[in-house]
Amino acid sequence: MLKYFINGFLYLVCTAAVAQTSNTLVTKNSELYKDTYGIRLGVDLSRIITSALDDNYKGLELVADYRLSKNLYIAAELGNENKTKQENLYNFNTQGSYLKIGIDKNTYANWYGEQNAIYMGARLGFSTFNNTLNNYQIFNTNRYWNPTSFAEGANVAEEFNTRTAAWLEAIFGAKVAVLSNLYLGASVRLGFLFTDTNKGSFPILWIPGFNKVTSGSKFGVGYNYTLSYMIPIYKKDRKKKD
């Protein structure tokens, strides 16, 4: 009982917006219940909304997962992002695509008929991207020659092309069936960058899919809010006792 209570609590926290799901009726013969297996395809809503609101960002992420067993899914994200960032004294653009492949493991014990998930996942992420350094000024704490501004460094855009990065990602997330086969999901992601082509006069400061690269740290954080649809492929008996 306690287990269901805690599960239910987590479920409420993660899905406060969702009031009620349309469960199939639980019959007395519930051990005959069949789980639906299929491919779930979706899109990240947060990147679409950010694209609409932020002039300096364009991004799209497609998500998919395929149910392997009762609690195990193969999952992937494919995305493209284009972000221009104005720092204090320079302005740069990052444009590129990424692919993340891995697994999700559901830890939420659904009641019969439920299709929700609170999951932990892992991904291997790859990105190829181009950097453009649009302009920069020279940082100088001595203000003798430029009392009110910083000296112009360069106004001609400089390209740093075909950069790549790879990282591992740990995920914690939830998916809730809001309608039959239609899911809302949310996840937070912790990335560990293990390789990148960080060379040349301008380092990698942002990676599509990984987000901000901080100096002296290999970690990055990200999130998404997904809307996805499950295409049912087959049904499988759930075991009588989980």
Binding site: M120, Y136, T141, S215, G216, V221
Partner: protein, 168 residues
């Protein structure tokens, strides 16, 4: 149940790592100043003070602010222009103000020529300038108090060492 608690703990620990970032402030570097040391022409190994030194950039009315104006010094650090390949300064020995407000003293004009390289330091700092191929020229006049100039290092990356020696 343990799994869920573990998940939450993982998240909480994850967020702890990202609570503060040092990236937004610049601590990694700064465009260096040119370090000049004044040596005795009679004993070239010995530092020698310039009495009431004043250094004014060409085109500027006010003296540079990296040291107290009109003090006796044997080492000064002066800022080079970051947007041009040469900077000219007037070094005035025994600088003083005349009664009408004009400056008295022996003024020598020195031009520093160099190449500039933009050097990305960090996210917070952005780009600074490293000067290379430094060359110094002294404008000849009837009474130069500067007798000789020696470039110690042609590359200026930091302010730890003397870049230019001036003998007087």
């Amino acid at each position: 149940m343990i799994k869920q608690i573990l998940s939450l703990l993982t998240m909480a620990i994850g967020f702890l790592f990202f609570s503060c970032e040092k990236d937004d402030i610049c601590v990694e570097g700064d465009t260096p100043l040119l370090v000049i040391a004044f040596y005795d022409m009679a004993a070239i190994e010995t530092l020698k003070d310039v009495p009431t030194l004043r250094v004014v950039g060409n085109g500027k009315l006010l003296p540079i602010t990296t040291f107290t104006d009109r003090t006796a010094l044997n080492t000064v650090s002066i800022p080079l222009k970051t947007e041009e390949d040469a900077t000219t300064f007037t070094f005035t020995n025994t600088s003083a103000a005349a009664e009408d407000g004009s400056e008295t003293g022996n003024a020598d004009v020195v031009t520093f020529a160099y190449d500039r390289e933009a050097d990305f330091k960090s996210r917070g700092c952005g780009f600074i300038i490293t000067y290379t191929n430094l060359a110094v020229s002294l404008e000849n006049d009837t009474d130069n108090w500067i007798k000789n100039i020696e470039v110690v290092t042609t590359t200026i990356e930091n302010q730890d060492t003397t870049h230019v020696k001036i003998f007087h």
